[in-house]
């Protein structure tokens, strides 16, 4: 593996605190994921793509904005791999780059409706921007 890709993969493993080698490729995460329909890369592939150092592709994927952090994949994975944590690590890697926020304050007014709870705003900002 390339040195750069190796480093990237290692960083994802570190931030997520997961061991991708534990995955036995059963696909129960993908079977459980409620956001699957909107995803371009499925949860089980996140695990193996980190394993193979394909971080750039993951960072460009639509899936990282669709994952709802519902932890269904984490709860049901028989090997304790935590795909959701890997997705979060990739998402963080993206938004930590300068000018790379997915959600910007200027987008907010159009999203607002009178019923929206603070919690939604705060959490969306925490998930989508730095």
């Amino acid at each position: 593996m390339h040195q750069k890709t190796q480093l990237q993969a290692e960083t994802i493993r570190l931030i997520s605190g997961t061991n991708t080698r534990k995955c036995m490729k059963c696909g129960k995460c993908t079977a459980s994921c409620p956001a699957f329909a909107e995803m371009d890369i499925s949860p089980h592939k996140f695990v193996s793509m980190v394993e193979h150092g394909e971080i750039d592709k993951l960072m460009a994927s639509k899936s990282i904005w669709k994952c709802m952090s519902c932890f269904a994949c984490v709860e049901r994975c028989p090997r304790g791999v935590e795909p959701a944590s890997i997705i979060e690590a990739v998402r963080q890697t993206v938004i930590r780059k300068q000018n790379n926020n997915y959600l910007r304050p200027e987008n907010i007014p159009e999203l607002l409706d009178p019923k929206i709870p603070q919690q939604a705003l705060v959490s969306a900002f925490r998930k989508y921007s730095k």
């Binding site: 036995m24 696909g27 129960k28 079977a31 089980h44 994975c77 304790g80």
Partner: protein
């Protein structure tokens, strides 16, 4: 003064690659008592052994140290060689420089230093060895088999055929085990009952076999050749000797609320019941928790209708005490509880069932008469989904870490049988891997897919949602990289298996070991797979690890051969490394008697004369035939009177000194 020879083995490169052999040999030449030290590539070989024999004669050796592999491997080999050269075989010590040294170290210098220490420790001990002579004990020519599944039945039949008496203790009211619940069996699809019941009948009618059904082992004492076992015959409330098995009582019993365990709760049974038509013995049992007579004092209908007058409400548990030369463990398995796997909806829908439940539904003698019916409404299912590996291969603590081994094959069997009998039913199987090692096994699985059109999907199920009378099965298809939802009528879970709950307590009673999953451990995973590390205890069937019927039967017969080999001996050589007490030092405190796990210590009154006076004192005496040399007594003895032959306190201290030198 001893004349000691030290023999250092290379074990090819196993030892020589990490331990510098020359350094060890050289160092040993200067150890006290050593008069000869040499090395060889393979000490255990014929040539290696004759080198040892030659050296013993040439140098007039009184004892030898072999620096080689674990004593579990070759201690016997070297003892025999020494004996052949005229030495007492207990004048042999092994320094384990392979498993304890070469294999676990990488650094050559460190490993060599450690090998020298291990070798000189053995020399230090040998300097204090004395020749020992083993005693003998008798062998009770009868075997006990615990568990009456196919494993226990096969072991018992083989032992009985060899002419020895066998008792089977089975906790259920009938023998047969799980196999009696199965419908057809892979890979040949013969009906389980057709091949099992003849064996059950053979076991029941064999003159050398004695069945204790509805019975449990209460306690085990003694040791190989002389186990002393208490068996609890639970009260059946029916006199087995006069019951004709007509079954009128079971039909007339008005209590109908009990779950029928044989059918895994898929239907009900009476309080007095016979588990299934071919049960052996064909004698009913009263389930006292369900019986109206036991609960309220009224009823007693069975006693009124019984033509043989066999019902006995006052029957009590009975304890039988018997001696055995050998014990076979054949306690089998159970499917795990699915409480940790509610994503599959087992507790939420009757139409989600385990594979064993499906066996009952498919069985002609089962709750549906062999018709494939949906449990919730007795309707005909059109779509069925099988999920493999449920609870197996799970390292999160919710399930079992191991592969249950039989479920890939029985799932293929189920899928095939259903497609054959009901071609209109769509069958989908979610799998992680399909594991089919076994003669004709992969062919069998492929037949299910290719000839019977079973839809195998590489993926897993994430959720089963009972909705509108259907089961929405949400799963993944990894080959197509998609998520899919199948609207199914029934879902069948290939549930992980685990050892019977009683394995743990039996292991304690027999001092047999179990692994982290409660499977009984074998003495050696490759070379002694049917023996437990405890002498005289043998393993048969799934209680040792997941197995199908062919493997179970093979292991059962292998265990039987080992038992026959043991029972064919008239005498067993005892371990001479037993405890003995120095009567002059013993103060009769009883500590040793309390800790001895084998009951080998008794007390006698003895006369002692000191200073012209005679006094009567109570002193410990070890029964050498019973003592197993565990050494517990030597540790608790406050006056240092107890010592272990071959491992005296002096010898142990010499070893410690040699290590710390």
């Amino acid at each position: 003064m001893q004349r000691i020879g030290v023999f250092v083995c290379w074990c090819g490169t196993n030892i020589a690659a990490t331990v510098d052999i020359d350094t060890v040999v050289e160092a040993m030449k200067y150890e006290p008592g050593v008069v000869h030290a040499s090395d060889y590539q393979y000490m255990c070989s014929e040539a290696g052994q004759s080198k040892i024999k030659q050296a013993i004669k040439e140098h007039n050796l009184t004892g030898i140290v072999v620096c080689a592999c674990s004593p579990r491997m070759h201690e016997t080999t070297f003892r025999k060689a020494a004996k052949a050269a005229g030495l007492n075989q207990y004048m042999v010590e092994i320094a384990n420089i392979r498993e304890h040294c070469a294999w676990i170290h990488k650094d050559r210098k460190e490993a060599t230093e450690k090998a020298v220490v291990l070798a000189r420790t053995a020399v230090a001990k040998l300097n204090l060895n004395t020749p020992l002579t083993p005693g003998e004990s008798s062998v009770v020519k009868r075997a006990l088999v615990i568990g009456g599944g196919i494993a226990g039945i096969q072991s018992a039949l083989d032992i009985a055929e060899a002419g020895y008496e066998v008792d089977i203790v089975e906790k259920q009211p009938t023998i047969g085990g799980k196999m009696a619940q199965l419908d057809k069996t892979f890979p040949t699809l013969d009906c389980a009952a057709c091949i099992l019941t003849p064996k059950m009948v053979d076991a029941a009618s064999h003159e050398n076999i004695n069945l204790y059904t509805y019975s449990e082992v209460d306690s085990v004492g003694g040791f190989v050749g002389n186990f002393n076992v208490k068996i609890r015959k639970k009260a059946r409330s029916v006199k087995a000797d006069i019951c004709s098995g007509c079954g009128i009582c079971t039909e007339k019993c008005p209590s109908r609320k009990a779950e029928n365990e044989f059918n895994l709760g898929l239907n009900k049974r009476g309080a007095i019941y016979i588990p299934f038509a071919q049960a052996i013995p064909n004698v009913p049992v009263i389930d006292r928790d369900q019986c109206i007579k036991f609960k309220t004092g009224k009823c007693g209908l069975c006693a009124k209708v019984c033509p043989a007058d066999a019902i006995d409400f006052s029957q009590q548990d009975e304890i039988v005490e018997k001696q055995y030369g050998a014990v076979v463990l054949a306690t089998g398995f159970n499917p795990i509880k699915l409480d940790n796997f509610d994503e599959f909806g087992y507790s939420q829908s009757k139409d989600v069932i385990t594979s064993l439940e499906l066996e009952r539904i498919m069985n002609a003698a089962g709750p549906t008469g062999g018709k494939l019916l949906r449990p919730s409404d007795n309707g005909h299912p059109h779509t069925m989904v099988f999920v493999q590996c449920v609870g197996s291969r799970d390292t999160t603590g919710c399930g079992k870490t191991y592969c249950s081994k039989i479920c890939c094959m029985y799932t293929a069997k189920h899928a095939m049988l259903i497609r054959e009998k009901y071609p209109d039913v769509d069958v989908h199987v979610f799998y992680i891997d399909v594991r089919t090692p076994g003669k004709n096994f992969d062919e069998f699985y492929r037949r299910a897919a290719e000839d019977y059109g079973v839809n195998y999907i590489k993926g897993m199920v994430g959720k089963v949602a009972p909705t509108n009378g259907k089961l929405l099965v949400q799963g993944s298809d990894l080959i197509a990289d998609r998520q899919l939802v199948i609207e199914a009528d029934m879902v069948v879970l290939a549930t992980a298996i685990e050892p019977d709950q009683t394995a743990k307590s039996l292991a304690t009673m027999l001092t047999a070991s179990i692994d982290t999953n409660n499977f009984f451990t074998e003495a050696h995973p490759k070379l002694r797979p049917v023996e437990s590390p405890t002498a005289g205890v043998f393993l048969s069937g799934v209680c040792q690890g997941p197995k199908d019927i062919p493997e179970t039967v093979a292991q059962a017969s292998a265990a039987a051969v080992k038992v026959i080999g043991l029972l064919s001996k008239d005498k067993l050589m005892c371990n001479p490394c037993v405890a003995n007490s120095n009567e002059l030092l013993c103060n009769g405190c009883s500590n040793c008697q309390h800790v001895c796990p084998y009951g080998a210590i008794d007390y006698v009154e003895k006369e002692f004369r000191a200073g012209g006076k005679t006094s009567l004192r109570r002193v410990a005496q070890v029964n050498e035939a019973i003592c197993q040399g565990c050494g517990a007594c030597t540790v608790v003895c406050p006056s240092g009177a107890m010592d272990l032959k071959g491992f005296t306190n002096q010898q142990i201290m010499a070893e410690v000194d040699a290590i710390c030198r």
